[in-house]
């Protein structure tokens, strides 16, 4: 599944970047988060409830900030297994100045396999899109309200 989007934040690019590369702050915004454990300055483990309807359960996903360029780009990858399934995803943020604020262009690629993919089938795409949208909205609010 591929998703992308763009949004603007009324905060300087440096502040946005520092938020995005902070695993604790960024990780806490993941939808259906059950627990978070920061492993290092660039990685964390999150237990999320993944799936739809009755095909939903906890899955531990390990995230890593695997590529970053100061104030302009941050990319995470995540990998997890559970419920006879796997999730592998990448999400990248590109930052550019827009007036006093920042324009963020984001892209995400997610692959779900195993039982979850077979059971949920085509129903996963709208759920993932909804969760991505919710994450972005929350991210925007958090960054704008952050000190």
């Amino acid at each position: 599944m591929k998703l992308q989007g763009k949004f603007a934040i009324k905060r300087p690019r440096e502040a946005v970047y520092r938020f995005l590369v902070n695993p604790e702050r960024c990780g806490r915004l993941l939808p259906d988060l059950q627990s978070l454990e920061v492993l290092s300055p660039r990685s964390f483990k999150a237990v999320l409830r993944v799936g739809i309807s009755f095909i939903k359960g906890p899955m531990q996903i390990q995230f890593e900030l695997f590529e970053s360029e100061e104030y302009t780009m941050a990319r995470y990858k995540g990998k997890g297994m559970g419920m006879g399934s796997f999730v592998e995803l990448q999400v990248g943020f590109h930052l550019s100045e827009e007036g006093d604020g920042t324009e963020i262009t984001w892209q995400g690629v997610a692959q779900v396999g195993g039982r979850l993919a077979a059971m949920a089938g085509g129903l996963l795409q709208p759920v993932v899109e909804k969760n991505a949208g919710a994450f972005i909205e929350t991210l925007k609010k958090e960054i704008e309200s952050a000190a």
């Binding site: 006879g84 796997f86 692959q111 396999g113 077979a118």
Partner: protein, 821 residues
């Protein structure tokens, strides 16, 4: 309605005073099956039994980085856990069976690379569902829960899910050590196909595809095993169609000195080729029983079955046909690409190769060239399904006939008649080496057309078109060769038969009953041949220790070689019984006859019971004729005269023994708003030679038709581009129910098989073969005015609707119309 005879019958449905073969006594196993008293493998329970659950790959193609079982092993109730790296040194990879080893060295005609694979994946996984690890626990729920505690790490690799893509150089390799994804190449030719094409006024090219689907027996696979350290005996109850081949495979894989293995089939709830002997679990569970020294049970879930048990049918046929102006077929070429998935099942190779041998179908086409490529992809393994590689070519040739008819503007019925093998040409050597035994294809087609009231429906079609309704009529005449040699082991059938002083007859056969009523059929034959009461005949099957060695139940072979063996064994035993009776009664052997368990002298009222003869044979043996061995027991092997595993220089081989056939006619109507295909009428006339039990044949044929209709209209195993199966349960895999299966008018013709003593041919698979081409022809006929061409299956509503959409001419109201009107 069926055309079975209505004789006067007794309380169990047997004809009074008449022969049982040819009648339809009630099945002996019906009461226990219908009242829930039958024991299936999943019902077997032993004290202290443990339960296995299998961790399966969620990746279609990935390297295994690590499998950490520590958390699973620490879980309450878990007794053991294994991954591929934990397999003991005495466990070998699963070997190819004999029939494949012989040809493995390769030749220009057949080149095969059956992959060698492990009980659990090592280094790499190649399809979603491949077994990676196993947990054994005190109950099945703890075992299942422990799977969640397995920490496995994979490195995802690019998957290949299309066979023709997999043949390209740039495609990922499923098996790197093979260097290519083509696991099988076979070539076969007959006649002079190039000459035929040179002289033909018309040459047409077509590409026709059949989709991937599977058999879905109502009982999924299951294995129970226990090990006795005292006798070093592994007993395995498995849902397998081949007890002896399974025993051999377990022995080869678990290479422990002195290990004895016994494989027993309790009862099968359907098999259809999905319950062969090469599945990893059939050996993995016995290994676990040996390691933990307790009984272990594993029962497959339905979603496991959909990814862990073999798929079938997915092939692309690239055809060229040379025809005369009148539709006579001069020559045929077929380049077949079969998607073998992970390709680890040996029987998958045979299934694929067989497809190239019967593309000529029921037609007199001697100039033929077939090439087949069996290609590995990252999908579940390809293997047998009812029809075993013959359904695909039947679909193709029957479609091709209609396509040629359409291109030449000829009647598809007349083209069929022109090209049928004629009755006087039997036995008929087809272009690829099989000797078709008997048939009358015109007669069966005429009967089907009459039953369907074909002229009436053509008139209805004309009327309907004027009303904007899309009615179509489809025809298919198919042959479904049965009883394969299987490299030799299938070319014979062993029977042991014993008459006891109690008057009971015990018949030990090498097959097993997968719901096909063997015990009833055996009882009919033995009762007729030996003159014993039907109730006194008892059948034992599905036990590698008790029963004669053989290749088991597959290929509808029981009706061909099994019944022949039973019949001839009974006749030999009868000779001995009469010889003993003759000596005891001091009369001429030829004046004796057996009826209702008594040997009677034709010329007077003297008689002696079977029991009395048996007591002499076993006890007072001094009264036997001089030189006669004690006992009334015989081991007999029947050899099939009409098969040979020898492949000649052109790839031709006498693969099958008997050739049942069918003619189907379908009348359909396509709903233009939804694409749904409604069947107004379905007729199927079937010929399996002489029928042993007409009711059984009708039931088998009807079940097969349901399978065939499912494959034509509903069933499809879909994968996404990353190799993820999109269908793993009956919510998405649309097995037809009683709602979707139409009322079928069944008929029969009888052309006895000349090469079997009873004149029987195999039955029970032809019905899967005929509906796909019949229904495809019907739908194309219905939509002909719109120019719709059917080249792939299944004809699901969304697929038909899409075809309509791209071919339609919309009226102002948005309804579909047609220029032709």
């Amino acid at each position: 309605m069926t055309e079975t005879e209505k004789a006067e019958v007794d309380g169990r449905g047997s004809p009074i005073g008449g022969r049982l073969v040819g009648s339809s006594p009630r099945r002996k196993d019906s009461p226990e099956a219908l009242t829930g008293k039958a024991t299936y493998t999943g019902d077997i329970h032993f004290p202290a039994m443990l339960y296995a659950a299998i961790y399966r790959s969620p990746y279609a193609h990935a390297r295994i980085r690590s499998v950490d079982l520590s958390r699973a092993l620490a879980s309450p109730g878990v007794v053991a856990a294994l991954s591929g790296d934990d397999l003991p040194n005495f466990v070998n990879p699963i070997q190819a069976s004999g029939e494949y080893r012989l040809e493995r060295s390769g030749s220009t005609i057949v080149r095969m690379h059956p992959p060698i694979h492990s009980l659990l994946a090592v280094d790499k996984v190649r399809f979603v569902g491949e077994p990676v690890a196993v947990v054994v626990a005190s109950d099945p729920y703890r075992a299942e829960d422990a799977l969640e505690l397995i920490d496995a790490d994979f490195e995802m690799l690019r998957a290949v899910v299309d066979a023709e893509e997999a043949m390209k150089k740039e495609s990922p390799l499923v098996y790197e050590d093979l260097g290519e994804n083509v696991l099988l190449y076979a070539f076969v030719s007959g006649g002079d196909v190039e000459k035929a094409f040179r002289k033909a006024p018309h040459v047409f090219k077509e590409t026709i595809k059949s989709s991937r689907f599977t058999g879905t027996p109502i009982e999924p696979r299951a294995v129970v095993a226990r090990y006795d350290p005292g006798t070093h005996l592994l007993e395995v109850w498995a849902t397998t169609q081949n007890v002896h081949l399974q025993e051999e495979q377990i022995q080869q894989t678990i290479a422990l000195p002195g290990l004895k293995v016994r494989v027993i089939v309790s009862r099968l709830g359907g098999a259809f080729g999905q319950k062969g002997y090469g599945h990893q679990e059939n050996t993995l569970i016995p290994l676990l029983a040996y390691l933990v020294k307790k009984p272990v049970k594993w029962v497959e879930t339905r979603s496991e079955h959909m990814v862990g048990t073999n798929h079938a049918r997915e092939q692309v046929h690239h055809l060229e046909v040379a025809v005369e102006n009148d539709g006579t077929i001069l020559g045929l070429k077929d380049r077949i690409v079969a998607d073998m998935g992970s390709g680890y099942l040996n029987s998958g190779f045979s299934t694929v190769r067989v497809s190239s041998l019967f593309v000529t179908g029921v037609y007199r086409i001697q100039n033929y060239e077939g090439q087949i490529f069996g290609v590995a992809t990252n999908k579940t393994c390809y293997g047998p399904h009812r029809g075993f590689g013959k359904a695909e070519p039947a679909y193709v040739i029957e479609r091709l006939i209609d396509i040629v008819a359409r291109k030449l503007r000829l009647d598809p019925i007349e083209i069929r008649r022109r090209n049928f093998i004629r009755p006087e040409e039997f036995p008929y050597q087809n272009a690829t080496g099989s000797r078709y035994d008997s048939g009358d294809y015109e007669k069966i087609l005429d009967k089907a057309l009459k039953l369907a009231d074909y002229p009436h429906w053509r008139k209805e079609q004309e009327k309907a078109r004027k009303e904007g309704r899309w009615i179509g009529i489809g025809i298919a005449v198919v042959v479904e060769p049965t009883s394969t040699h299987r490299g030799g082991v299938g070319s014979y059938y062993g029977v042991r038969m014993r008459v006891e002083p109690s008057g009971n007859v015990w018949v030990f056969i090498c097959g097993n009953d997968d719901g096909t009523g063997h015990d009833t059929v055996v009882s009919q034959i033995v009762a007729d041949e030996l003159g014993f009461p039907f109730e006194n005949v008892n059948t034992v099957e599905g036990d590698s220790l008790l029963c004669p060695y053989g290749s088991g139940s597959h290929s509808s072979r029981f009706a061909v070689v099994g019944t022949s063996a039973v019949m001839l064994a009974a006749r030999k035993l009868k000779e001995k019984i009469l010889a003993i009776a003759s000596a005891l009664l001091k009369v001429d052997y030829n004046s004796l006859a057996i009826k209702a368990g008594k040997i009677r002298v034709a010329t007077d009222s003297r008689e002696i019971s079977i029991q009395d003869v048996a007591r002499v044979a076993y006890s007072t043996v001094h009264r036997l004729p001089p030189g006669m061995e004690p006992g009334l027991e015989i081991l007999y092997h029947y050899r099939d005269p009409n098969v040979s595993p020898n492949v000649d220089e052109r790839g031709r081989v006498a693969q099958y023994s008997t050739f049942p056939y069918a003619a189907d006619v379908a009348v359909v109507e396509v709903d233009p708003g939804t694409g749904k295909v409604h069947i107004h009428k379905y007729v199927s006339v079937h010929d399996c030679g002489n029928m042993i039990n007409p009711s059984e044949v009708a039931g088998q044929h009807m079940g097969a038709l349901a399978h065939g209709i499912g494959g034509a209209l509903y069933e499809e195993l879909l994968y996404d581009e990353t190799g993820q199966p999109l269908v793993q349960n009956f919510k998405d895999y649309l097995v037809p129910t009683a709602v979707e299966v139409p009322h079928v008018e069944l008929g029969h013709t009888i052309t006895p098989a000349p090469f079997t003593p009873g004149g029987f041919k195999g039955a029970g698979e032809t019905g899967t073969v005929s509906p796909p081409p019949c229904l495809a022809n019907a739908v194309e006929d219905a939509l002909r005015p719109l120019g719709v061409e059917i080249r792939t299956l299944p004809l699901k509503p969304n697929f038909v609707w899409e075809m309509l959409r791209s071919a339609q001419i919309r009226t102002d109201t948005g309804r579909l119309g047609s220029e032709a009107g």
